[in-house]
Amino acid sequence: MQRYPVWKGVLVAAVTVAAILIALPNLYGESPALQMSRRDRAQFTPESVTEISGALQGAKIPAEEVYVDDEGRLWARFARVDDQLKARDLIQGRSGGQYAIALTSASRAPDWLQWFGLEPMSLGLDLRGGMLLVYEVDTEGAVAQLLQRLERDFRKELRDARIQYQEVAVSGHAVHVTLRDAGQADAARKALLAYDSQLTFAPDAPAGTLTVALSEAAIKERQSFAIQQNITALENRVNALGVAETVVQRQGQNRIAVQVPGVQDASEVVRLLGKVATLEFRLVDPVNSPLEAERTGRAPLGTRLYKQRDGFPVLLKRDVIATGEQLIDASFAPSQGEPAVSVKLDSRGGDEMLRTTSENLNRPMAVVFIEKERELVQRDGQEVAVDRSKEEVISVATIRGVFSNNFQITGLSAAEGTELAKLLRAGALAAPVVIVEQRVIGPSVGQDNIAAGTEALAIAGIVLFAFMVVYYRVFGIIADVVLLMNVVIIVALLALLDSALTLPGIAGIVLTVGTAVDANILIYERIREELKVGASPWASINAGFDKAFSAIGDSNVTMFLAGFMLYVFGSGPVRGFAVTLMLGIVASMFTALVGSRALIHLIYGRRRRIERLAI
């Protein structure tokens, strides 16, 4: 009679039951679905369910289920993708742009499983397809931004060189400078060349003026820089979503395709990726009256009229102190109980901020939050892109001290602060991007191939299981049970972490199942060795587990470390592999060492004496 710690037995049983429960929704699978949320952020009511179901029935689009979730979003589930797409067009037409409609998928699991919040694990782009977003980069906007910066910097350079000018203005792809004194043209040219020696001056400019035109090469360079920066920013944003295995790639001249696999909340992804948020720091004009400017609709020279959150107008200086482009980091960091976003700028932004704050102590400075979204709206039966741009002063604060590249923005709610920090951190985009296309894409691995692969794995599994039983008899059965448990635990962990399973991920699982088989074989071979030298059955079992432990432990720790490094430093498919590798190793250590011992005790533990082990 051998004792086995009760708590270990309970642990194994509890983990097994929990894993089976969590993995269960995968047996039911998912259906294509629409997820709708109201633009005014109000919740859907049961009446809307009746209304939408009625509309779908009227159009003869069969829906599996229409319901409202806990967060007040409306879901409609369909058997086929075609129905889903037809329904989207129908509802979009009816709602007149009031709903944000996202193509997604919903679980077919029974309500009681969903009530537990259990969802099937999501499959990656290669296995199930997902969502494709095509962004168009406003490359012209990127050039315009560059020109604006030149304009601003020219003014500053000329001022610093004490050269008086009448006007510095952008027109076309050039910046024109008109000087007060034509005699200072050479001095002005020198000052500007000191700023940037690459500048080229148009030779045919009238006396007293300078024209700096961007060369074709400079424009091209700027545009491709903008696209590259956007790709990086989108990659960061997509990674910040926490969905594994996303693809971001350049498409055509100025487009970027983003592919996101089975996400739970597609509209949230579109919102976070689609919003272009950037900041501008500007000084408040302390002299002129903003109310006057609002009334006449004309802002005094050198200022611009903005609105604050509470609707009050405010006049800001035209010169931008720093923009989101110069932002290095932003994080939500409440200070003294008040929500605040801590901002870090690069050295150029920091220098400018230092200069401005030291010259304008105790004067107000404003933070302008600019957000741009483009949406496809149905108009006269055609899809039209509509830009929604929001420029809003989110805070006006008095400059209390001199600061440079490290400071805080206050005056937001906690939720706004968190989102602002998230958006800014994910990358302030140099050029505005807009969604020009949103589609559901099928898996790149064909359905037949998935079926064939699953079948092949099943056959390989059966052969492996049969071999284990023939070779190790009762212990082989134990190994088989433990291996199944191992796979169930991996699936459960994947579902819990909401990590999409892809082919590289399956490779990770295959590897860990391999090591789990290895762990069992190591233990059983050791038990056999002990039996051969004449040890008693229980002594052999205990020695087998103990001696095999150092090999299993070392090899699993090594592989786990490898998986961890691949996860930290890798991306895309490498990460997908690393995730399942790490999860699989945890599962395999647990099942091979704890699970299989518990089973052995369950089978042999009650007997007073064992004559022989069936191994």
């Binding site: 397809g129 790639q249 894409i441 099928g442 295959v510 592999f577």
Partner: protein, 311 residues
């Protein structure tokens, strides 16, 4: 009891290691030359290429489309649905200037067999799915991973073993890549995953044998190092055969029955398993031996005590 090896064999693996070194060096060199000269059959994942969007009059069967494309002489394509079931996206490797239109024509011509009213909606170039930045990142990840494995094994065993495992874990993927180049297997992201799997498999195999070597060095202090390592390899031979056999049979099933997409992945794995098994026996252990592995590596630190002071 079913057993492959009734008695522990007494094969003198280490005696022949010079020959195996020569063979390994030759195969690694050949692999590198092969990759450099012949190159890898990189897929659209890495090279970028052309995307064709096609519209059909009705939902089409993807397998039929793949068959028609293959029959029409289109190579290295990827197909998936795009939006609805009657719209498809076909990805092709990059063509030379002017050849893109020709490529598109060939695809459309081939697909006429599936649906005579097939229409080409759009042709566009795409960048690689694996941007240079990502590829660099992956290479870094691999480097750090190998280093950490080296450090861990050096810490748990001794540095000699760390070096042995490092050489083995470089040896295996290199030879596997060589084999992939030789067989012309399309090199896509899944093959990358297979290479990582091979690496993991090789490390696992190596550590298991190292563990036995460590144990035997502790119990056979008087024996010659080569003898100890031979003994450890022989003792774990049954396990090595079973584990490699199981793994190999599984991936062979996958290669034969798993369909076109998984074939490259499975074949790469099969090659890797064979090489990994060989390298953990010959490369890892033998290098540790030649670097001077001995029982002293695993002796507990000598106790200094009062005993020494006694006469």
């Amino acid at each position: 009891m079913v057993e492959f090896l009734k008695e522990i064999p007494t094969i003198r693996f280490m005696a022949l290691r010079k020959y195996w070194y020569a063979l390994s060096a030759l195969v690694v060199a050949a692999s590198i030359v092969l990759v450099l000269v012949r190159g890898l059959n990189l897929t659209v994942d890495f090279t970028g290429g052309v995307v064709l969007e096609l519209g059909f009059s009705q939902p089409v069967d993807l397998e039929q489309v793949r068959g028609a494309l293959a029959a029409g002489g289109v190579e290295d394509f990827q197909v998936r649905t795009y939006g609805t079931a009657s719209e498809l996206e076909v990805r092709l490797p990059p063509a030379g200037t002017g050849a893109a239109a020709e490529q598109a024509d060939r695809v459309v011509a081939a697909l006429k067999a599936v649906d005579s009213s097939v229409k080409l909606n759009r042709t566009e170039s795409v960048g690689p799915q694996v941007s240079e930045q990502l590829a660099g990142q992956a290479a870094n990840a691999l480097l750090f991973t190998l280093l950490l494995v080296l450090i861990y094994i050096a810490f748990r065993f001794r540095w000699r073993f760390g070096v042995g495992s490092l050489v083995a874990s470089l040896h295996d993927p290199i030879v596997a890549v060589g084999a992939i180049a030789l067989l012309g297997i399309p090199f896509d992201l899944n093959v990358v995953a297979a290479l990582l799997t091979i690496l993991g498999y090789s490390v696992n195999d190596t550590v298991v044998i190292f563990d036995r070597i460590r144990e035997r060095f502790r119990s056979m202090r008087k024996a010659e190092p080569a003898e100890v390592i031979d003994r450890a390899i022989n003792e774990t031979l049954a396990r090595t055969i079973i584990v490699s056999g199981c793994a190999l049979s599984s991936v062979i099933f996958l290669a034969v029955l798993g369909g076109e997409t998984l074939r490259g992945f499975a074949v790469a794995l099969a090659i890797g398993i064979v090489i990994g098994t060989y390298s953990s026996i010959y490369v890892a252990g033998a290098i540790a031996l030649d670097l001077g592995a001995s029982a002293r590596d695993f002796m507990p630190p000598e106790k200094r005590g009062d005993v020494d002071d006694l006469p």
